[in-house]
Subunit: 425 residues, 2 copies
Amino acid sequence: MKDIKIAILGMGTVGGGIYQLIEQEQKNIEHKDGIRLTVKKTLALSYAVDVPEEKKAKDIDEIVNDPEISIVAEVMGGQHPAKEFILKALEAGKTVVSANKDMISQNWPDLEAAAKRSGAGFYFEAAVGGGIPILRALNDSMQANSIREVYGIVNGTTNYILTKMDDEGRDFSDVLKEAQALGYAEANPESDVEGYDARYKLSILASMAFHARVPVDKIYCEGITKLTKADIAIGRELGYVVKLLAIGKKDADGSIEVRVHPTMIPKEHALANIKGSFNAIFIDGSAVGEMMWYGKGAGDFPTASALVSDMVYAVHNAGHPRYATFDNRYEADQVKFNNDWITEYFIRTDVQDKPGVLAKIAGIFGKHDVSIESVIQKGAKPGEESAPLILVTHKAHEQDLRDAVKEIQELEAVVGTVNCIRVEK
Amino acid sequence: MKDIKIAILGMGTVGGGIYQLIEQEQKNIEHKDGIRLTVKKTLALSYAVDVPEEKKAKDIDEIVNDPEISIVAEVMGGQHPAKEFILKALEAGKTVVSANKDMISQNWPDLEAAAKRSGAGFYFEAAVGGGIPILRALNDSMQANSIREVYGIVNGTTNYILTKMDDEGRDFSDVLKEAQALGYAEANPESDVEGYDARYKLSILASMAFHARVPVDKIYCEGITKLTKADIAIGRELGYVVKLLAIGKKDADGSIEVRVHPTMIPKEHALANIKGSFNAIFIDGSAVGEMMWYGKGAGDFPTASALVSDMVYAVHNAGHPRYATFDNRYEADQVKFNNDWITEYFIRTDVQDKPGVLAKIAGIFGKHDVSIESVIQKGAKPGEESAPLILVTHKAHEQDLRDAVKEIQELEAVVGTVNCIRVEK
């Protein structure tokens, strides 16, 4: 039996989940893995669960200077002081497990270097997909594959909002308010609804999948705040469901395209049926082909499950930590990022209901090499002068599409904002 | 760089897949994992791919006596001589990776003991779910979970047949013949269509999920050969899709129920939409909740992907092999198996079209504590004396249902076979 003492930094929902889960599963983990995990210290400003006073550390030094503690779980979130605390723990030779996608995705090289210097382990399965063991799978099960694509629904809050908008025909701001009231969205929802959280996760996921460093700022990011119930309803009519997808592709020439944006996918696609706060991640591997993982992407116990799993895994691999893709990876400056990807587009706007408008718009698209697959033009309602115009394009270059849209937006006959949603099949 | 020489036993589809995959991915695996895999020897009666003559071993001894070879991949299939060859390799201290669910599920204790004696590794990710890394996930990512359920579609051939029967309204024997002609089903399809292959896989899957030995002969097994297009069509009308499921449940009292049989599942269930030769496996874990893996369950490269992954994993864990659930497990005689599970039932038969028949049948069910949820009785077609009768029950005990069905089958008014399909929601 290996006796392992741990410390938890941050005792909110997830920290409380770790604390409870270790208590509940301690005997089972002893039985199955020969490891006795015990929480020796916690460090937090506030506590979601009851913790005996003697376990509450007064500062980070009390933890990093305790030779008995070999694993530190960081679930404070945010950049500071999480980064400083993790660096101190790693430098003291303590294995760190963390769920902090924000901080890890933006400081990975520094954290990696610190772990390597001391030989400590550093694992963060919980940072992507909550309880879904996607990072372990990429590291330990896909070694014989070149991953061509990794994409999916990695943010539960936006998926919950989009599911509600779709199921109940409601508008974004309306559903967001309800989600905030129910605790499914945060008081400041920016990180979720603007796609930032998904972008952090894609940075980690794509880095591991492609064995190349994919910095956050290389990822195109567009949130769901501009989506209307009309977009979703018309999408449905055309056979599509709108989801916020994180998409990573490695092209044949080795270049990488990475993007987070609302995406129309065929309603038969497995991702179209992922409802509420669930996450689902697809990969396309050269040997395994298409594969999907589905599960709870957040929440106290699913996330704590991944963190405790990292602890057990770290103990089994102590002395020869498995650093994910740390070694031999391509640094960001060796990677070619492709910002001019090719996809199809759904375009919706309002135009003056008079002759020649469609011809003018179609002409602009044509000039920019964007070819139209289908058009839905409805006459103006009585008493209104403008009418909705919906277009779906064939495959086109992103840059061409943007140039065309910019030009169309400036037409006098175009009275509404030109909304674009990318379509993936 | 670790230089690892391997041998492949069996050079059919999967053996050929391993051989090619190692050639294709050798540089990538060197780059990512610091391991150079080389196939030094092969042993086979026939070869699906070209292999230089000098690599062809004349017998197993040439392989087990070669000190350079540290990993043996067994993909011959069948019981003999696969078992003897694996035992020889393990006893010689060579790590074995295998896809042989049939043999492993029936000889696990012997193989495990041999591996432990020599300290060799023994991995078989490819035995369940092909390229889906479900066994690694159960071992290395679910340590903080007590698994309550594991179930899914684990046989691609029967799923292909059922998908065709459903999509095209065709009968079993008709679709089977086509599947055989196309190479999707074997000339002797027994192992697939009778559910034996799914049973081997469930034995491994349930053993790992529940950390208890689940022998093959403890698993109830019923194949798809008796399903008719009528069963599938009427199921659809009622909102169900028929799939061959492998189901393992751990009840609150610790007893385990394990069964393979055609199952009606609601058409909205994720498994209902798994088409053709794909596999999908659900777990319900105490911390992570519901989770699903989806991917190709068979085929040369998906299966070879799992085998090569096992090789890389074995090298990283050499000297301290991770034996899955070998240690501390509950032996079969310590496990209580529950054969009298509770579920709902779809029942279809033909009855004489005359008064009082339904009352008599309903009375027998009532006597055996089986309560009827819904009945579909259609009048006899002109010129026919019998008419189909379809019943769906509420939750009932398996044994009660069987007793009732036996009694009903003997009624004079019942002219057809009484077909039962279990319903899971």
